[in-house]
Point group: C2
Chain length 317, copies 2
């Protein structure tokens, strides 16, 4: 699969526009005072299906020919990409199948089904997941839409930074969380075209620091089953995202579990918006690295708000 370029991003933005929200950008004088920076929060937690993932999924689904689309789409995901693909397929009126480990939380399965998709369960191992998906695709002819190692998905995620840049005035930096790297790759792609030289930072849980390690080592380092509350950021980089991350990310900043929870709580309390743990990592990193950002205008991508409201990390269960 080819590396996406900025024309792909512009095409993606046009393609997905009818199916996504142009999410607002919020500011918070509380966080500006706390960090010494001027923060512009892009609220993808308000996005369709509750996360930026709708951008990439919609771009992939609506980029298919009618013939390709007829067999439906499939993926493996126990998180936001599964919901997003289900949402996108529903809007096009085609079938989406999402392979999930049989121990995935019921609400995650319910969300995929709620958007009209189908869940296929497998044993909770990488091998089972890949075998199940392969068999399913062989039988149905469905189009595989990888959560991030997919140029259509990266081009879709890149539209988020496009809107941030269009809706703000001369940012000094951008920051987004990094898991598989689809959003950060897309952010680099857009930033390098629209405001070359402006640094793009990624933020990662210390407990799942495979991207940070990869950047140190100069090659993709994988970490198996990391334990972090930021469950959207457990995935490892892949060739297409590494292409951008390795060459264009200014730095990867880390945050501990407690710092992530604290940043999440503060965001709920002061901004009155619901963000999921993965989404709080960049803010935790900015709070941790005051000297790096003080005095700068920083675009912060708030990635998603899919949280189980009955299980909040600051409440004892």
């Amino acid at each position: 699969m080819s590396i996406p370029d900025f024309d792909d991003v512009k095409a993606a933005h046009k393609r997905i526009r009818p199916y996504i929200h142009r999410t607002p950008i919020l500011t918070s004088s509380f966080f500006n005072t706390l960090t010494g920076a001027e923060l512009y929060f892009k609220c993808e937690n308000f996005q369709k299906a509750g996360a930026f993932k709708a951008r990439g999924a919609v771009n992939a689904v609506f980029g298919l020919s009618d013939q390709e689309a007829a067999a439906g789409v499939a993926t493996h995901s126990s998180g936001n990409h599964g919901q997003a693909l289900s949402y996108a397929a529903g809007r096009r009126g085609i079938k989406a199948t999402v392979v999930m480990p049989d121990n995935a939380p019921e609400p995650k399965k319910a969300a995929v089904i709620g958007y009209g998709g189908q869940v296929v369960e497998c044993a909770p191992s990488n091998a089972a997941r890949e075998n199940t998906l392969r068999r399913l695709i062989e039988q149905s002819g469905a189009e595989f839409v990888h959560p991030y190692n997919d140029s259509r998905v990266i081009a879709g995620q890149a539209t988020c930074a496009l809107e941030v840049i269009e809706d703000t005035d001369h940012l000094d930096a951008l920051i987004a969380p990094i898991g598989g790297g689809g959003l950060v790759a897309g952010t680099c792609l857009t930033a390098s075209n629209l405001m070359p030289g402006t640094p793009v930072f990624a933020a990662e849980p210390k407990n799942a620091d495979d991207a940070w390690q990869s950047l140190q080592a100069g090659r993709i380092i994988e970490r198996d089953a990391p334990d972090t509350i930021a469950d959207g950021l457990k995935t490892n980089l892949a060739p297409l995202t590494w292409h951008f991350v390795s060459s264009q990310v200014k730095d990867i900043l880390l945050a501990t579990e407690q710092e992530i929870i604290d940043a999440m709580f503060l965001t709920w309390e002061r901004m009155k918006i619901i963000i999921e743990p993965s989404c709080a990592v960049p803010l935790a990193a900015i709070i941790n690295n005051r000297n790096l950002f003080a005095g700068l205008k920083v675009g912060v991508i708030l990635t998603g708000g899919n949280v189980d409201l009955n299980k909040l990390p600051w409440l004892k269960s």
Copy 2:
């Protein structure tokens, strides 16, 4: 005190603009499908100090002459108006004193103090509250800014509907929660000038239905210490707000405690925004009155987001 007119509203909007957010209007296809209506949610939960109350308080504080302002402002409030007045006074650099019952929750006191105001405690009775405030004003010469029976406050709250109307295209109805009636009075004032004939609805907890009873009786009916989770809506109407409510409100719709909690939970879950119980009452009323709103474009004022995140009504404590 005189009844405010629409010129007061326009002047208020100009006066408060530097100190308040022009809050966004969000839509939700989930709630549109659920209700059959087209809902436009005005997010005053994102407002300064977490509620629309900042509008009225800022208008009152910044409308004072320098001489009047020098002695500071004072009020009684254990809720959002106290925080809002403290915020407004802080922005003008004057003193705010808020009388609160000594059994008010610590976070409420902390919020007033956090914005620079002073809390004066009294015994938890209406008589103690009024005596304490009267004595305090006699001693200090502070300007009393009533939470709602105040034309400056009503004109300030009226700017909220002004923005809703400016930022949407031909609404068929407006709805807001009703406690003392400041917001609803202001909404009537603006709507009757900018889109005469368009109905304004108020929504009230069944457990604190004094405004509903007043509308039936044709005079202000007071209810003492009603028990509802919607703690911002326990107050009774007053002459200035009754002037508008009695003649211009189309109807007052009621919601039970469970309906309020359900609407609040659904808003958090589907819209990813934090609203307080009082703020969920209009949506609960719309869900309850599908036939009244189906097919209409409805502006819904989300009034505030000040919630104790450690005590959520759907979680057992």
